[in-house]
Subunit: 110 residues, 2 copies
DNA sequence: ATATCCTACAACCAAATGGTTGTAGATCAG
DNA sequence: CTGATCTACAACCATTTGGTTGTAGGATAT
């Protein structure tokens, strides 16, 4: 049963979001703790605007949410996005296993 | 125990490779069956050279291997690459679960 | 031997990416 | 009120990406 069908564009955004070292690091951080955009920016050797863009990429990919708190914007990890990416890779893995099993069957028949 | 440490660049390439619908489709195909580059190219509404480039991206990401057979080049899925990507997402998932467990503990203490 | 098939790769192009600086609107502290 | 802080966003730039066409070389079939 397919609970949640992901569009190609959603998957493109998801994997694209993971395809950058800084963004993967941001994901780690915001999964464990709470960070404002400025708090995140302080961690990297690049401008505030650059980090802001990275957060925006993660947000568009549904990997992160922002919540306004006073003048700050708190960035938090969003479990759903991560799960979607995991699910796709698991799907590939399942296909792979089926194929390996099929080959084993064929060999067993001989 | 960390068996296989992946460099940032490797992970960039891995997720970048997955961040395209055509490439994800090629991955599905070559996981199940055998295809020459021309065989793959026939499946998509784009030039042979474009598909060839997609295969090259998958190859650089260690998701696919090519084997020369006569004048053809057979493209096959490479399980290792897929596993590496899966492992990273599982790692994030584990971090997440730890965090959720920690929050549950804090709440239980009250 | 010649024509055909498969592949590789260069050159080119438009759009996206990852970075920069600068400007401007909210919010908070004194 | 004023100044500092946090954020958003525009404009710009260099590089990469995803596509194209064209050329050339190795393998196959007739």
């Amino acid at each position: 049963m397919v609970v949640d069908q992901l569009s190609d564009a959603e998957l493109d955004r998801l994997f694209q979001a993971f395809a950058d070292t800084t963004r993967r690091d941001i994901m780690r951080r915001v999964t464990v703790g709470e960070y404002s955009v400025t708090g995140l920016a302080a961690l990297y050797a690049m401008s505030f605007a650059a980090v802001q863009k990275h957060v925006a990429v993660l947000e568009r990919a549904s990997l992160v949410t922002k919540e306004k708190r006073g003048r700050e914007q708190i960035v938090r990890g969003n479990h759903d996005g991560l799960e979607k990416a995991r699910r796709l890779l698991d799907e590939y893995e399942a296909i792979w296993r089926q194929r390996v099993a099929r080959i084993a069957d064929i060999l067993a028949e001989e």
